[in-house]
Symmetry: C2
Subunit: 994 residues, 2 copies
């Protein structure tokens, strides 16, 4: 049942290049060939590298081509063109490459001869892929699903083109604006032996440099033990060369002028300066090995300039050993530096918290980007939802169209970049990311149609299906193709492996009779679309209403609802509930079986009562506030402006966006709502659905006014009587949750310079506060910055508009506009009021459903319901048994005709739920119910590029006598298809079916 994985891994067809030379086991690309220096010297690892942002000031393709060099001189095509011959020229030279989005672009344009040259360099360890994601992902606002995907995409490309020598051995997060434990844990599970990064808090850096603890063992997960540990190192100068030793075409440092016949011979001065710099750096590091990152943004556009001077530097610096110098320098790679540290045979300190938020100076923190470009952040999350559904549909329909939706995989890989979803790119680049996602979704839509072409027809599989289309403007309650249509269908794909009760919202121009998959009439509320929505700039829809109803959806399957215009019905009987109770500016109460939500007549949320648990949370206030952005000129830290990266309020106290508000409560069957309008540009609709034990708050913010010359950063604040006692909790990348404490850092004695900004943390999916009795959890539909600035309070920054650049490079204020005015953003919070003991059982699945929502596809079949139901399946599940509630199907991808990649995960943490925090078991065969019997099954590392059995990570010792030695309980091949999962465990399999 098991065979070696490299015999079954399919060629990477999505890039139209089949695998390269047959994989030859190589002894020349591993740690064994590393230069480990001299034991009695200070060994300086010279690491030539380029940092190629996958979009930032320019778009990814502008960077690739070197277009728009008026914005920034950067041209990746020439970097790779030039590095290869420089490596060929001298076998001592080394180079690392990181961003596969660029490498892939370049690779496609190369001749087979050039590819073979590159393959040889890789096989000889002279060119090494490090990290090897499609991009160097952001760590603050990315979702773990997409981090894994983007690393897998790069890893797959590298494996297919370069075999085992192409496998990245460590993480290289040199530019991201903070570092996540979750990323460390994921990297450990990808088989990485270590991680290097460039940015930490300036206070942290100072302390660590002094203590020689720049390198440490990071315990990535509280749930997963040593498997999640990752040796992590802080680079000495972010990722720059020592001062005056940048030899790039874009630097102005002096070259090594070593011809004594020419003027300005400078070898002695350059050598001494280098030796001094090495000694200086060594004072902060623990061993007699240090790393010099020789490169920076988009460097090596003419690699010759770097290498020619580095060759000389190495020659002349080492020549000084003859005169007693203790400095030994040589070309190296991060892997070899890591290996040298590993071989140092010493113990290391450990770290269990994360690196968020980090300051770059006393008044500047990388924290504004937690919220910057909220619309793009949501669109990225939404795109992932579509991508996962598309993978599932492609796999389950067996249409083998993986290559066809590659544009979406690629766009998502790019979107993970630390200047993409982070919101820290220029506006035109943000537009390009969105365009890529849109184009990717178009490609996915094709695959979705092809899949449904196989899944929808009841009998005749050659039956044409009505074209399935997405309504991508549903975020502004707009779906033009169905407007005024006599009939249409809505097919909802549930990408989770559990049945869900989904609230459907369909913007319509008229009333419709809705038939469920069984043919029954669906009870739906016919709700007016609020003025706040209708006035959103750019909305062209004439839909005045939304039909809202509850749809029970099968696990990993679909249901189709048939909409028939009531005016077109012969019997125009009213089937919808006619009741419409409304209260304007009166105290009102939303109430269902579980919850009771009370407002006063000023529109203030006063109480939420959990009727089941019989407790009430009192709200002293709830709603919109703004921080005034600090309008500095960045000339000194005190004048640090708030901008795309940095959130810095002018004063610590946010102001309410209005002194009064209007409230309208509406009671319908499916949902009760309180629409609270704060002002022209802030409103929220609090919704309580029938049967729901969560409260949904849909907010609309914008255009943020700036006529007063002040930037504004808008938060929604929930002020309760929960005695949270300085603590609050935020998730990492949508997964494990970290405890936060106000004005505190676990790792060092923290001095507060920014009382607000220093307490902002990334909230990728949830934030909570709690006391012994009560936990209030707020789930978000995208990443937002969040904090708890007072006991009992949670605040989430939902939108920002600043008027100053914050001088960290982007060169633009964070001032999004659309249709000639500030951008309007609409989003959702979901509130869960539960006991601490029972909260996880709600926030885990609810958060799962937020990022893995059912996919809406519409169609205009143009046939009667009867004809439709005669010909087409209206509901279908790929599962025929119920699967454990605490297991999530993270990935279901088809690699080739009978080959699949599966990731299943336990998505509860240890001890957070009495039931679901226990181990789970799942029979993978159940997922292949409709496809066939599993023939082969190999467990892989997380990125899917290596059998787990082959993963042999370096072993590290901590200074408290622990070892990172793997427990090695892994089964490389499975005895059966039944997989056991511990809390927060993700397992990856390559599965071949018969």
């Amino acid at each position: 049942m098991s065979i070696a994985v490299h015999t079954v891994i399919a060629c990477f067809t999505i890039i139209s290049i089949c695998c390269g030379a047959p994989l030859k086991p190589s002894n020349t690309c591993g740690y064994d060939v590393c230069n480990l220096g001299k034991p009695d010297k200070l060994n300086v690892h010279i690491v030539p590298h380029t940092h190629d942002d996958v979009g930032w000031l320019k778009t990814v393709d502008q960077y690739y081509y070197g277009a728009r060099n008026d914005i920034q001189h950067a041209a990746v095509q020439y970097i790779l063109d030039s590095v290869i011959p420089s490596l060929v020229e001298n076998s001592d030279r080394r180079f690392i490459y990181v961003e596969i989005a660029f490498f892939w672009r370049w690779w496609l344009q190369q001749t087979e001869e050039m590819r073979n040259t590159v393959r040889q360099l890789v096989n000889e360890g002279r060119l090494e892929f490090i990290s090897g994601g499609w991009s160097m992902n952001d760590e603050g606002v990315t979702h773990y699903n997409s981090i894994i995907d983007q690393h897998s995409l790069g890893a797959e490309f590298l494996r297919d083109q370069f075999g085992q020598c192409g496998r990245p051995k460590l993480g290289w997060q040199i530019d991201p604006f903070g570092h996540s434990k979750q990323v460390a844990s994921l990297f450990a599970h990808m088989g990485f032996d270590g991680l290097f990064f460039g940015r930490v808090d300036v206070q942290d850096y100072t302390e660590r440099f002094k203590a020689k603890t720049m390198e440490m063992i990071w315990k990535g997960s509280a749930n997963l033990g040593e498997d999640s540990w990752l040796f992590s190192g802080i680079l000495p100068r972010v990722y720059e060369a020592p001062p005056s030793f940048c030899f790039d075409v874009h630097c102005q440092n002096e070259p090594i002028k070593d011809d004594p016949q020419l003027h300005d011979y400078n070898v002695p001065e350059r050598v001494q300066a280098f030796i001094d710099a090495a000694h200086s750096q060594a004072t902060g590091y623990a061993t007699n090995h240090i790393i010099n990152t020789m490169g920076s943004d988009f460097q090596y556009e003419n690699a010759d300039e770097w290498y020619k001077n580095l060759d000389k530097l190495i020659k002349y610096v080492n020549a000084q050993q003859g005169n007693g110098s203790d400095v030994n320098i040589f070309y190296s790679t991060p892997s070899c530096y890591l290996y040298a540290l590993n071989k140092a045979n010493r113990t290391w300190t450990t770290k269990s918290d994360d690196f968020f938020p980090i300051s770059f100076n006393h008044h500047g923190l990388w924290n504004g980007y937690f919220t910057s470009r909220p619309a793009l952040k949501r669109y990225e999350r939404y795109s992932n939802n579509i991508l996962q559904v598309t993978k599932q549909l492609n796999a389950l329909s067996n249409v083998t169209l993986r290559h066809a939706f590659f544009p979406l995989s690629e766009a998502m890989g790019i979107a993970q970049h630390h200047d993409a979803v982070s919101g820290t790119e220029k506006q035109h680049v943000a537009d390009d990311y969105a365009q890529r996602l849109a184009q990717g979704i178009d490609s996915a839509t094709y695959v979705i149609n092809e899949a449904y072409r196989k899944l929808l027809p009841k009998y005749n599989h050659s039956l044409t299906i009505p074209a399935q289309f997405l309504c991508q403007f549903s975020n502004i309650s707009e779906c033009l193709p169905i407007e005024r249509q006599a009939s249409f269908t809505l097919t909802l794909w549930n990408p989770t492996i559990h049945p869900v009760q989904h609230i459907v919202r369909v913007p319509v121009t008229q009333k419709y009779l809705i038939r469920s998959p069984t043919g029954s009439t669906v009870a739906a509320d016919f709700m007016s679309i609020s003025d706040q929505v209708k006035k959103i700039p750019g909305r062209t829809s004439s839909a005045q209403y939304e039909l809202v109803f509850q749809a029970p959806l099968p696990a990993l399957g679909f249901s189709t609802y048939y909409f028939e215009s009531k005016s077109s019905l012969a019997d125009n009987k009213r089937t919808e509930k006619s009741k419409l109770d409304q209260a304007h500016n009166e105290a009102c109460v939303l109430q269902n079986q579980y919850l009771r939500v009370e407002f006063d007549q000023q529109g203030n949320l006063k109480n939420i009562t959990n009727q089941e648990r019989n407790f009430t949370v009192q709200f002293s206030s709830q709603g919109f506030y703004w921080y005034t952005s600090f309008p500095g000129n960045n000339s000194r830290p005190e004048f640090q402006a708030s901008g795309a990266y940095a959130f810095r309020p002018l004063t610590p106290n946010p102001l309410p966006v209005s002194s009064s508000r209007n409230i309208t409560c509406t009671y319908m069957d499916q949902v009760q709502t309180a629409l609270i309008v704060y002002n022209q540009w802030c409103s929220q609709e609090v919704r309580l659905y029938d049967q729901a034990n969560t409260v949904e708050i849909e907010w609309i913010v914008g255009p943020i006014p700036i006529e007063d010359g002040l930037g504004k950063e808008i938060i929604i604040r929930y002020d309760t009587d929960i005695r949270s006692n300085q603590y609050f909790y935020t998730d990492a990348n949508g997964r494990e949750v970290l405890e936060r404490k106000r004005d505190y850092r676990p790792s060092w004695n923290y001095t507060v310079y920014e009382s607000v900004g220093g307490n902002y943390y990334p909230v990728a999916s949830r934030i909570w506060i709690k006391d012994n009795q009560t936990q209030m959890t707020v789930l978000t539909d995208r990443s937002e910055g969040g904090s708890s600035m007072h006991d009992g309070s949670i605040e989430l920054m939902v939108h920002r508009r600043t008027l100053h650049d914050d001088s960290q490079g982007v060169g633009e204020p964070m001032n999004e506009t659309a249709y000639g005015t500030g951008l309007v953003v609409r989003g959702r919070h979901v509130l869960i009021l539960e006991t601490p003991q029972l909260s996880a059982s709600h926030h885990r699945p609810t958060a799962q459903q937020l990022f893995m929502s059912p996919l809406y596809t519409y169609a205009l079949p143009g046939i009667s319901y009867t004809d439709y139901s005669n010909n087409y399946r209206q509901t279908w599940s790929s599962l025929n048994e119920s699967l454990p509630y605490n297991v999530h199907l993270l990935t279901f991808d088809q690699l080739a005709a009978n080959v699949f990649l599966i990731r299943v995960e336990h998505y509860f943490e240890l001890n957070e739920d009495a039931t679901y925090s226990k181990s789970a078991q799942i029979d993978l065969d159940s997922l292949f119910n409709t496809l066939g019997k599993i023939k082969d099954l190999v467990e892989l590392t997380l990125a899917g590029n290596m059998p787990l059995s082959e993963m042999k990570r370096l072993v590290w010792q901590t200074n408290d006598h622990q070892s990172s030695n793997l427990k090695l309980t892994k089964s490389n091949t499975l005895k059966s298809t039944i997989v056991s999962l511990n809390p927060m465990e993700i397992k990856t399999f390559q599965i071949t079916i018969e």
Copy 2:
């Protein structure tokens, strides 16, 4: 007696690399392999090139290494590093390289493998050397002797390393600031088939573009006929690529984005823009061939960027031929473009004047540089004098130390660059040029010593000679090593082949008895050094006097004078003339056998009478004036400032530097002088030597005051009663003379925008005005700008100090300082007042002696005169017969032990002298009197890199039915050693002696 030249040419030992691969005759590097396009298309020759200034904003070595990129990003080492692999990559690609000063630096650092790669590219015509001088010499202020030398230096290197395929076939003066007929003529005699340049007057350009006469036959010499004709072309955009088609790493134009999968595909737009640009350019040119110079200053630092995009451009533009496009583009070289024009089989207009001065806009002319940095200009001329003497001494002493004074040859080659001797470089670069010359002179001093070690000893050739040293500060009457010495010797080498009567000036601290070579006591004037000299900043000498005496020197030989301190003489008798007559502020007269020079008591020069010819020239005024520099900001042509390149006066009338002056006339035996002090910073000493028929005017100017905030440009003006009727005459590069007419251009209908600047011409050696009876010729000791702004007037700009940059690139005002104040410059004019018929017989030899002065070397033998004269030769000539007066020995260089390079020239023009304008004959054997018998003798082209017999220049037809077809009367090998020379003819020989 004759053998093929390529068997005797020695290896280029001066660069320590012996010749490369044996020269294989190649059919792959000539015109035959040119792509001549398609007859029915507009053929665009794509010519990739880099323009590498041999110093400008940075020094030559800073440019080579890419140092000081903060000043200007430029790094030649990487250009050549990167071009070669790009050429290897695609055999269609072409590149030209021009400046051998850089190529040589690079070549020295290459492996033999790389050299062979380059040799192959050259052999295949893929890399072509164009022009091939050590630098791209300036044309306005350079001297023909040094132009020939610097081209020979480059040509020799190329011949030795690359053989016949390395021979440059045409001139490429794309950046110099005006173009000289003399250069055209020299180039023709170097065997060049054509010349391209970038800068002409904007009026000229407009007219020629309209008339399609951008390309023409330039008749380089009125004396030398068709041999001096040179096809010359004006490039369309100086030397830049068409707008938006610069693909250099330092450009910001859009690359060709041809992957339709990536964003911003731009092939159709780029192709159309190129086709439009080609059509537009073609409207100004005569044939269906046009040239696109693809490059600019220091471009191709990463050649891949250019070539990758040009490859694409060529592919896609030519693809449009399938859609009816008439544009055909291909890689080419200037040679191939030239050849295509030659093959066009058409006639061309001719030009007989030159391109001076030229305007870059209506108010900006390239004319200030005629004078800029007068001290550097003199130092360069002085250095050439030393170089030629050194070559002669090396050759005649047969010490074969050519490699040892290569630094001076190299420094002189560099100094010819159009931003070197031109004065248009930054100050620190000017300092570097001077330093190089000084270091070169040091190297020459070694050779001079080695030569004298063989020439000086009378009997014992192993006798140590007293170290010969130069007194390089003689320009400020300072020679520290001889100060207070009891005795010293002065050896004077006469580099001309005629005996000369030389006026010696030796700055001394005390009186000396001087013994001539025959032992007789020399009559010398003991003259006080004037306060004007003594106060020159930086002068540290305590010498208060100069000994002035007349020394008759042998042809091509030396005389030694022995100086013995009078105080050290036993009989301290006064041997010098004691007479010292002086007149202060009185009218006075200087008078000798030939001339009578009269001053009034206000210090005004009133008359000069030629007593022999019996005429008097009356001076209405003579002396120093200043033009106020235009202080513009260059934002519009009207605001053009005066600066390093451009001389633009604020008003057309120069102001006298003072309203009164002091005159002191001094009468001694050897010389009578009138010292006229105008103010603190302007003075002149008018000198009439005994027996002299010329008047010497030594001027001291500076520090030019700028405290009033005004730049000043200082002229010396000679206002006479000569009826010059708008005409005046200036030389070209120290050789042939052109007629100038005020406010007039021979080539087009000239519109005057700048009444003064437009009449300024370069004066490299002489300027004159005349009427039927009288000619006043002024000889200069360096290049100066000169004009005749009124009939009877000659003015020469001797110094300038401006406070504004003139926006042509140098980025500095022309504001030289030294010792914390404005630079003081001292120089000489020599006035000749003769009949027009007899002037040449004076100005030709006098000018020759100005640039080929005797070389002064001092020594401290520390022995008595008797001992000295017993052991050392005190006079010696290498000639034993007198040689024709109208022949000049331009070059006498030893290539190898028995191999010499000789240039002899007739240095009179046709019809300028009844006697000397006739043909001359010289027996070359007479030059080798002391060396041996001539065994082989081969006449070479002017640059010495090809036997004249092998020179086959392209033939061109003029539109007046003349043909450039060579008369081919050349004898490739000589029947005898007797050479016949026509006026202005230069002949070059390689001579092997037995």
